[in-house]
Every structure is written in structure tokens, then in C-alpha cells.
């Protein structure tokens, strides 16, 4: 009985200590970001890995999501004779929620896991210790470009997802269902507000990018130097980052939406 209580207590202390460790890690990444050099070449390579290589996935998914939204919204709205609001429903769903959230989850699964595995492999093969031996900060040399690349790529990928999704909805609504193209676009443009919708969407992309970047690099950086440890940190990156994205999504919506 006392053993169970002690284990629970030890676990809680471990968890809080882990949170503190991660916060300190985040602080040192931010400090590294503010310190020259910029490491532009590495940054470009990392943006290529997480951004350009995720493009096909994001554009394909966005298009299909827009198409299914158009179809679903049509089925519901047609019952009320409100088909002229289709553009607003598709556009607002994509801009406010589906664009940033689905992009966040997809990029976490595609690029966040790769980031964690990449850093984990460097830990396993002692490359980070090698850097330390040459008095090069591994946080500055390896972690910061990877985290920043995710931060930069996420809002851009999210915006592309939304634009392609709106176009996918347009294809279904106008080309397949034969509705008026003007009413689709004008209801979209009338319903969307710059601050409430577009700015909130970009903010979500930035926050999700930050979360994915920090969590994936932290998990990779602290992974055990074994093949099993790396695979475990990769899995936990996807799980933890996805849950964090979904939870923070609620709070951004609640705080920003008013």
C-alpha cells in the first residue's frame, strides 16, 4: 500500500522534473536562436527536409479535405436551401480549424518523427558528444536549426493546405454539383474576417510549429542511446506533440475568438 503511494509520488516528481527539464531545454534553444551565427545553410537544408518534402503530403491532403468538406456541407445545407453559404462553411472550417490542426498533425507525423529520430541517431552514435568535444554547442549546431525550420514551415504549409482545400471545395461544389461559382467565392470572402480568422489561423500554425519543433528535438535530444530508445522517443514525439497541438488548439480558439 505504502509502496503504491510512494511510486505515485515518485512518478509525479519525475513528471514535474521532466517538465522543468524541457522548459530549460526550450530556454536554451531560444538563447541559441538569439546568438549568432544564424547557420543559414543548415537552416535552408532543414526547411527543405521538413517543408518542401512535406509539400506533396500537405497539398494532396488539403485538396481531398476541401473536397469532402464541400460534399458534406452541401448535403447538410441543401436541406435548408442554404447552398449559397457553402463557400463560407468550407472556407471557415479550413481556415479556423482544419487547416492548421491537420497540417500540425500531418507534419508532426511526417517531419517531427524524422527530426526526433535524426537527433536520436546522433545521440546513439555519439555525434553530439563529438560536437561538445570540439566545444561546439549541439543545441546551436543541431537542435536550433531543426526547431526553427519546423516553426517557419508550419504556418506556410498550413496556408497552402487551406488554399488548396478551398480550391478542392470549389472543384466539388462548382464542377461536380454545379453550383454558382460566384456565390461560392463571395460567401467565402464575406464570411472570413482578417483578424478573427486569418490571423488566428497563422498564429495557430506558428504555435503548432513551435510545439512540434521543441517536442521533437527534446525527445530526440534526451533519447536513450540505444536503437530501442530512439524508436521510443520517435513514438512519444508523435503522441505528445499531437496531443499538445490539439489541447493548445482549444485554448488559442477560446482566447482569440472572444
Amino acid at each position: 500500500m505504502t509502496g503504491a503511494v510512494a511510486r505515485l509520488g515518485a512518478r509525479s516528481v519525475d513528471w514535474v522534473a521532466g517538465l522543468g527539464h524541457m522548459t530549460r531545454f526550450a530556454g536554451s534553444v531560444v538563447a541559441a536562436a538569439l546568438r549568432p551565427p544564424l547557420r543559414g545553410r543548415t537552416l535552408v537544408r532543414e526547411i527543405y527536409d521538413v517543408g518542401v518534402r512535406s509539400l506533396a503530403l500537405i497539398l494532396g491532403s488539403g485538396f481531398v479535405v476541401g473536397m469532402v468538406l464541400g460534399l458534406q456541407a452541401y448535403n447538410t445545407l441543401a436541406r435548408f436551401g442554404a447552398e449559397q453559404s457553402l463557400g463560407a462553411v468550407v472556407g471557415l472550417s479550413l481556415i479556423r480549424e482544419l487547416g492548421p490542426v491537420l497540417t500540425g498533425l500531418l507534419v508532426t507525423g511526417r517531419a517531427g518523427s524524422a527530426t526526433a529520430a535524426g537527433i536520436g541517431a546522433m545521440v546513439t552514435t555519439g555525434q553530439l558528444d563529438g560536437l561538445r568535444m570540439m566545444s561546439i554547442s549541439p543545441i546551436h549546431f543541431v537542435v536550433y536549426p531543426k526547431a526553427l525550420a519546423l516553426l517557419i514551415a508550419m504556418p506556410l504549409l498550413s496556408a497552402l493546405f487551406i488554399v488548396v482545400g478551398v480550391f478542392g471545395g470549389y472543384v466539388v461544389v462548382v464542377e461536380l454539383l454545379g453550383l454558382d461559382p460566384g456565390s461560392y467565392l463571395s460567401s467565402l470572402e464575406n464570411a472570413v474576417d482578417f483578424r478573427d480568422d486569418v490571423l488566428a489561423s497563422v498564429l495557430k500554425g506558428v504555435v503548432f510549429g513551435l510545439l512540434a519543433g521543441l517536442i521533437s528535438t527534446y525527445r530526440g535530444y534526451t533519447s536513450e542511446p540505444t536503437a530501442e530508445g530512439v524508436s521510443r522517443s520517435t513514438t512519444s514525439t508523435v503522441v505528445v506533440a499531437s496531443v499538445c497541438i490539439l489541447i493548445s488548439n482549444y485554448f488559442i480558439t477560446a482566447l482569440w475568438g472572444v
Binding site: G81, Q84, S85, L156, V198
Partner: protein
Amino acid sequence: MQSTSGRDLAVGIFVLGGLLAVAYLSVQVGGLSYAGPGGLTLVARFDEIGGLSPRAPVAISGVKVGQVTAITLDDDLRAEVRLDLDASLELPIDTSASIRTSGLLGDQFITLEPGGELDLLADGDEIDFTYSALNLEKLIGTLVHETDIGGSE
């Protein structure tokens, strides 16, 4: 070296495309700057605006000529609606404004009907003839009362 510059180009195109997408959402869809000319501001007061909201379109004969920029309550507790219209419009001073609904459940918008006077409305003027939004519940309530379907009297 060849592969490196190819990668730079790909990243450049990616960043540019992403920024263009953000710009498209902000300007075209989000209405950061109203695409039309704008410049002529008019005020109209209504007893009832229903579900009219800022950024609702303003149309003449169904053609969009501007949008609602602000809705406030004036000193007499009537709704004061500010309209931003195409500056090249020449509207007579007896122009009337009415709030309409597109479709049965659609968004509300303002439609202007130009009158026949020779004098024109200038920037900042008020539209004197206004017709409030049609309140369906109120209308049914009145109908029930007038025709005595309720049977109380």
C-alpha cells in the same frame, strides 16, 4: 554544388508559395483591404437591422458597390450604419437604403435604390429614407394579433 543550389531554389519556391498563400488569404479572402475603390462614406439609420454585420455587402440592383464598415447605436438609440461605397457613384439625395436577406436564411445585406433628385449625396451625408430589416417573428406576431387567430378578443 549542383544539388545544393537546386535545394536552395526549392526552399525559395516553398517559402514564396507559402507567403503567397498567406497573402491570398489575408487580402483576397480576409478582406484586409477592400478590393473595390471605396472612398464615399455614407450613414444610414435603421430602427431594426436584424442580423446585419460589418463587412456585409452593399448593392445597387444586385451589383456590389461597397460594404458596411461599422454599426453603432446613435443618441436616439437607433442603429447607425456606416457604408463605404465606390467613390465614383453618383447617388441622388433621395436614395433609399433597405436591409434585405439573400435567400430565406442567407446573409443580410443593404440594397440602395437611387431616387430622382438632381442633388447628389456627398461624402459623410446621411441617407434619409431607410427600410429596416424584415423581422419574420415580429411579422408573424403582428399577423396573429391583427387577424385574431389567437382568439383572445
